[in-house]
Subunit: 239 residues, 2 copies
DNA sequence: ACCTGAACACCGTTCAAGT
DNA sequence: ACCTGAACACCGTTCAAGT
């Protein structure tokens, strides 16, 4: 498992970060210690501090590496499809790197991939005709939903609709009649198979996108001032 | 600060949990160790293990204590106002217990207050006329938004609109022109004072509630079968 | 410049022992 | 029943020393 000391491939920042990501993927964040990571790299723990100031900074870089995997929306093309695609990509990436989900929204030092991603999202919305204010709303709302949903999803004690039914049966039996509405949901919804977390994600995502589109259209109809203010961007935006 | 050994008030589970919550509120979750908590209680670290099996279980109980502070929606009365009130209450409570936010959605052992809260939410929606399926969607969507938003909010490097403007100025200067859309948002939106995170929360919340209401009404109009199926609950629901 | 060994000040938890 | 002291197997990080 551990790389041998002889053929270790010249420790550098990139390999440290990618090894850390791989280790967290495989064994979870709580098992990622500086000592354990160093061992995986065939090196002493203290060598890491030559490339990284501390563990927090390493976590920042790991989160940025995850952001780099998320599809960036293209500036051209319809914003609604671009936002939907980006949201689904983010969910998929976070489910490949479960340790990252609680960290994504809470890092104070965004890296270049994070900033580049955010910039691309804003650019897509603004080129698509969103006012600055509406773009801010859209950004906040979509990101809150995406990360909140995935956090929720990953806390569930099952990973597939089949497992969900098995767990629901077990819980339903032990819960008795103290929580009739939760029991009802388990028996009439989850157990009937009307339950798929990928569909659940899309339901909320489409509801939000629809709401944003309504407000987008209302701004187009209602206030020509807004249109004029953004139209320079709409026609002038280029890659 | 530390309670003296003489007048320590008979260690029990309730005081352990409430002291842990107070300690985490005051100094953050990373400073809450079993040793530190014991010290605060005027007791040896190992005494805690007589009341709590391990630290994870203590965290479960702390999260449940936070859930107990969130307003439960009443079963009677309009669902939309009840859901809005609960969402704002949750945000407020989480901002009093910042350490809890990343934990709320990710605990695997829900306590009685957590289950009671979820039950009350489902009951309010079902009594209000939601089908089981629509109640499931509403629950998932609202919770994802609430926790995702607060997580995002708490990661921001400022706590007031005034601080936000100060930070935006500093960031704007150091960012240069690498991220024009983000710069634009800082200068034209945040710095103009059009930026208040409480309003931002309400914007997304109302958008989601409006979307749910549209789907609720569509179900009432479109499929009389759904109405019949839920109407027994609507009339039969009692506290 | 890059890596290391020993040490410091911590962790959560087990265990045998005290009252 | 409830609490404790010592110990185990860990942490992140500092520091002085090696090459």
């Amino acid at each position: 498992m551990t790389a041998s000391t002889s053929d270790r491939p010249a420790l550098d920042l990139a390999t440290i970060v990618s090894t850390a990501v791989r280790l967290a993927d495989a064994e979870g964040l709580e098992r990622l210690s500086m000592r354990r990571l160093a061992q995986e790299l065939g090196v002493q723990a203290m060598s890491l501090y030559h490339h990284v100031p501390n563990k927090e900074n390493l976590l920042d870089r790991m989160v940025d590496a995850v952001y780099a995997e998320v599809d960036k929306p293209a500036a051209r093309g319809p914003w609604r499809e671009a936002m939907a695609r980006r949201a689904r990509s983010a969910r998929e990436v976070l489910n490949r790197h479960r340790w990252a989900t609680p960290l994504m929204d809470s890092r104070r030092e965004p890296g270049p991939s994070t900033l580049g991603h955010h910039e691309a999202v804003l650019d897509c919305l603004r080129v698509g005709g969103f006012s600055v204010a509406l773009a801010a709303h859209a950004f906040s709302l979509l990101d809150a939903y995406i990360f909140g949903f995935v956090l929720q999803e990953q806390a569930l004690p099952f990973e597939s609709p089949d497992e969900a039914r098995a767990v629901a049966t077990a819980i339903g039996e032990q819960m008795g009649d103290a929580y009739p509405r939760m029991t009802e949901m388990l028996t009439q919804h989850v157990l009937k198979g009307d339950y798929d977390y990928a569909l659940e994600f899309d339901y909320g995502l489409e509801l939000i996108l629809e709401g944003l589109e309504q407000r987008y259209n209302a701004a187009l109809d209602g206030s020509p001032a807004t249109i004029t203010a953004t139209s320079t961007t709409t026609t002038g935006g280029k890659r």
